[in-house]
C-alpha cells in the first residue's frame, strides 16, 4: 500500500490511528504490529510469510548471540550464520536473476533462470535486522526478548517499504516507552502533509515530464530536451524519496516515534562529499557503521582507505538495484569521493561557493543519468545527447515547449529544494501569533486538498472505446 493512495489515507490510516489511540499503552505495540502486517500483506500477500519468517529467525538469532556472548568464538559463529542467512535471503530474491544473467554473459553456457518478483521493502528491512543482530553481538544494545516489540521494530509500517533505515539502537527505548502527545501528532501531521505534497504535487508532475522526454528516440532529441529530462528526473527522485521519508517521519511522530532525518537539502551541497552527507542519510550511516568502519575505514593508510571506499560504493550501488547501471552509479560516486578526498579537497575550498554548488549539481545530475537509464548503453547515449554528441540540434521547439510549460513547476521545485521555504514557514508557524497559526493551518489544508485532487485524478481515466 502506498501512503499516497486513497485507501491508505481514508481507510487504513484513520482506522489504525483510531484503534491505536483507543487501546491502553501496553496494547499499542500489538495494534501497531497487526496494522503493519496488514499494510505489508496488502501489497505482498505472499511475501508477508517471508517477512514473518525473517522476524522469527532474527529474533531467535538475537537471543542465541546474546546467550553466547561469554564465549567469543561461539558468539561470532552465531553472528556469521545470522548475517549469512539474511544476506542469502536478500541475495536470492534480489540478485539471483542478475547474477545468472551476468554469468550467462561471460560464460559459454546458458543457465536457465526464472526472475522472481522482488518482495517490497526487503532491502530496507534486511538492513534493519542486520543492524540489530550486529549491535547485539557488539553489546551495543540489549537483546529484545519480546517478540511483539521486535516484530514492531522490523515491520513498523511508516518506514517499512521505503525507509528511513532505522537502526535498532535508535528506537530501542521507544519500543518500550514513547511519548504520545497531541502536539507531536500535529507536528507529525505537518511532516506528513508536506511529504504527501512533495510526492504527489511535485514528484509525480516532474515525473510526467521525465517520462515524456525518455520516450523520445535519441535521434529526435535536442540538447535542451535532454537537459530538461535530466532536470525533471533530478527533481522527481528527490521529491519522491524525501517526500516519502517525510511522510514516514510524520507517521512515526503520530505514533509517538522519532525517526532520524533522511534528507537534509541535498541539492544545496557544495561538494559530492557533502551531498552524500545530506542524501539518504540513514543508508550512508548504515554503510559507514556496518561496512566501512569494520573494514578499517581510513585508519589503515591511503591505499586501504581507497579500497574500502570502493567496496562501500560498489555495495551502495548494488543495494539500489540488481543491474550494472546501479553498480556503475555507485562506483562513479566512489571515484568522485576519492578524488575529492585525496586530490582536490583543499583546493575546492578556495573556489567561490556558487561554482562549487554548480559543480556538485552537475555531477549529481550526471549520476542520475546512470540511475534512470534502463541499460548502460542508454546512459552513454543520453549523456552524449546532453553534451551535444548525437543530438538532433541544440534547441528545438519540443524543448522550448517543455521548458515554457514546465518553467513554473521547475521554479517551485527549485525553491522547494532549498531551505528557504521551510524557514519562512517556520517563522509563520512558530511566530507565536494565533492568526499566523491559523494561516499556516489553512495553507497546509490547501496543500492536502490539492494533493487529494491530484491523487483522485490519477485514476481519472476516461474509457477510450469511443475514441475511434
Amino acid at each position: 500500500m502506498l501512503f499516497s493512495s486513497i485507501v491508505f489515507l481514508f481507510t487504513f490510516l484513520p482506522v489504525t490511528l483510531l484503534v491505536y489511540y483507543l487501546v491502553p499503552g501496553r496494547l499499542k505495540n500489538i495494534v501497531l504490529l497487526l496494522a503493519s502486517l496488514v499494510f505489508y500483506a496488502w501489497g505482498e500477500p505472499v511475501y508477508v510469510i517471508l517477512m514473518v519468517l525473517s522476524i522469527l529467525f532474527n529474533y531467535v538469532s538475537g537471543i542465541d548471540i546474546e546467550r553466547n556472548l561469554e564465549n567469543p568464538f561461539k558468539a561470532k559463529q552465531s553472528l556469521v550464520i545470522a548475517v549469512a542467512v539474511n544476506l542469502l535471503i536478500l541475495g536470492f530474491f534480489k540478485y539471483y536473476g542478475f547474477l545468472i544473467e551476468s554469468l550467462n554473459a561471460v560464460l559459454p553456457v546458458e543457465l536457465p533462470y526464472k526472475e522472481l518478483a522482488l518482495p517490497i521493502g526487503i532491502s530496507f528491512y534486511t538492513f534493519q535486522t542486520l543492524s540489530y543482530i550486529i549491535d547485539v553481538y557488539r553489546g551495543k544494545v540489549q537483546v529484545q526478548k519480546n517478540l511483539i516489540s521486535f516484530g514492531v521494530y522490523v515491520t513498523m509500517f511508516p518506514q517499512l517499504i521505503a525507509g528511513p533505515i532505522v537502526k535498532y539502537s535508535d528506537v530501542e527505548m521507544q519500543l518500550r516507552d514513547r511519548n504520545i502527545t497531541m502536539e507531536k501528532f500535529g507536528d507529525g501531521a505537518i511532516y506528513f502533509v508536506r511529504g504527501l505534497a512533495k510526492k504527489v504535487l511535485i514528484a509525480n508532475m516532474t515525473g510526467l515530464v521525465f517520462t515524456k522526454v525518455s520516450a523520445i528516440t535519441f535521434s529526435e532529441m535536442s540538447v535542451l530536451t535532454a537537459w530538461i529530462g535530466c532536470i525533471a528526473y533530478t527533481f522527481q527522485i528527490y521529491f519522491d524519496f524525501s517526500g516519502y521519508s517525510d511522510m514516514a517521519v510524520g507517521l512515526g511522530k503520530m505514533l509517538g516515534f522519532e525517526f532520524m532525518k533522511n534528507f537534509d537539502y541535498p541539492y544545496l551541497s557544495k561538494s559530492i562529499t557533502e551531498f552524500w552527507r545530506r542524501w539518504h542519510i540513514s543508508l550512508g550511516t548504515w554503510f559507514r557503521e556496518y561496512v566501512y568502519i569494520p573494514l578499517g575505514g581510513n585508519r589503515k593508510g591511503r591505499e586501504r582507505t581507497i579500497i574500502n571506499l570502493m567496496i562501500v560504493w560498489f555495495l551502495t550501488g548494488l543495494w539500489h538495484g540488481a543491474s550494472w547501471n546501479f553498480v556503475m552509479w555507485g562506483m562513479y560516486y566512489g571515484i568522485l569521493l576519492i578524488i575529492e578526498k585525496f586530490m582536490i579537497g583543499d583546493r575546492l575550498e578556495k573556489v567561490p561557493g556558487m561554482c562549487r554548488h554548480l559543480y556538485s549539481l552537475l555531477f549529481v545530475m550526471i549520476g542520475w543519468v546512470f540511475f534512470f537509464s534502463p541499460t548502460l548503453g542508454f546512459a552513454w547515449k543520453y549523456l552524449g545527447v546532453m553534451f551535444g554528441v548525437g543530438a538532433k540540434t541544440v534547441v528545438d521547439s519540443m524543448g522550448i515547449y517543455l521548458l515554457i510549460t514546465n518553467l513554473a513547476l521547475f521554479a517551485i521545485a527549485a525553491v522547494g529544494s532549498t531551505a528557504k521555504v521551510h524557514e519562512i514557514f517556520g517563522r509563520i508557524v512558530y511566530g507565536g501569533y494565533k492568526v499566523r497559526a491559523v494561516l499556516a493551518c489553512a495553507i497546509y489544508a490547501g496543500m492536502f486538498l490539492l494533493s487529494i485532487a491530484y491523487l483522485v485524478t490519477e485514476t481519472y481515466n476516461p474509457f477510450l472505446y469511443f475514441r475511434f
Partner: protein
Amino acid sequence: MALGFISCIALLVLADGITKERKFSEEENRMLATKPKASVETVMSGKFMSQYEKYKSDQFLGRDFWVSLKTKADLLLGKKDSNGVFKGADGYLLEEISVLDEASYKENMDAVTAFAARYPDLKMHMLIAPNAANILKEKLPAFAATEDQNAQLKRTEEIVSAAGIQWIDAAKTLNQHKNEEIYYRTDHHWTTKGAYYAFQEAAGDLGILQEEMTAFVPHTVTEEFNGTLSATSGYERSRRENIDIYLPEKNDTEVVVNYVEEKEKSASMYSSEKLEEKDKYGMFLNGNHALVDIKTTSEKNRRLLILKDSYANCFVPFLTPYYREIVLVDPRYYYGDLDDLIEEDRITDVLFLYNGNTFFTDNNLSGVLASE
C-alpha cells in the same frame, strides 16, 4: 494542527461514507469500479487489493470537483497539455498526432497493395483525413511540437498510387477551409461540415458527376455536445457545441440501414436516441459496428464497400444518392471473410476512409484484407 488534520480526514471519510455508490460516470463515459468481493484466491494474488484501490478512488466523493481543481492548478502553472491533448487557442482541444507504427503500417500497406492487385476490376480510393492538430496547426500552443502528419500522408499516397488506388486529397480542401468549423473543439472528429468539404473533393474522384450533385442544407440536431477530448483532458468541460446533420435539399434518397451482427434495421442513418447520451457523435450510424449494410433507393447501379473508422460515420450520408448499396466494414471489429462479402454483394467500388491518427497506428486492416 493535529485537530486540523484529524478533522480534515474525518470530514472526508464521513462524507465519503454517506455518498451513494455510482455505477457509471457520465463525464468519463465509463463504468466505475464497484466494491469487489474478496476470496482466498483474489486476496492471495493481490487482485482483490488492486480492485479495491480502484474502487475506492473511482467512488471517491466529488470526483468532478477534484478533477476541475487539478485542471485549474495545472493551467495556473502554465501546463498546456493533458493526457495527449493540447489546450489550443479559441477553445480548440487538439489531439496529439500519432507516431506512425512502422511494423503494422508496413503490413497494412503490403496488404492494401496485394488487395488491389487481387481485384483489378474494382475501382479503389483512399481518403485519409488529416487530424485537427495538423490542419489547425496555428491553434496549437506556442512551440508545441507534433509529428509531421503530412509526411505520413505523402508516404501513403505514393504507396497506394503505385498500387493503382486513387488517392483523395482531403488535406488540400480542409486546408482551404481551415477558418471554418471543420473540426469540433472538444472532440477528435471532424464536423459534418468538414466531412462535406471532403466529400465535395472526393466526388470527382469517385466518379460522381458535377450535374448529379445535390445541394445539402445543415440542420442542428443538438447544441449540447461535449466531446471525448474534453473528457480525456479535463479541459473545456463546460463548453457545449452543436452537431449538425446535412440533408439534401430535394428528392431525399430512402435508405434501409442493416446492422448485420446486431440484426437490427433502421430507416435512418441517424440514431437520435444517442443524443441523450454523453457521446453524441454516436448519433451518426449508431456509432461503430463491425458490418453495416445500407440499401438505398438510388437508381445508380454501383455498390460501394467502405473500410473505415468513425470518421466515415458522418461522411456516408453524402454518398447515398449515388450508390445502390453501401457496405461499411470496420476492421477493428470485423471477423468475417471480405472476399465472400465482395462477391455476394457484387461490390464495384472500394473506399478506404480513416483519420490519420487511427490509420497510422492501426493493426487490424491487414488481417481483414488478407485472402483466406
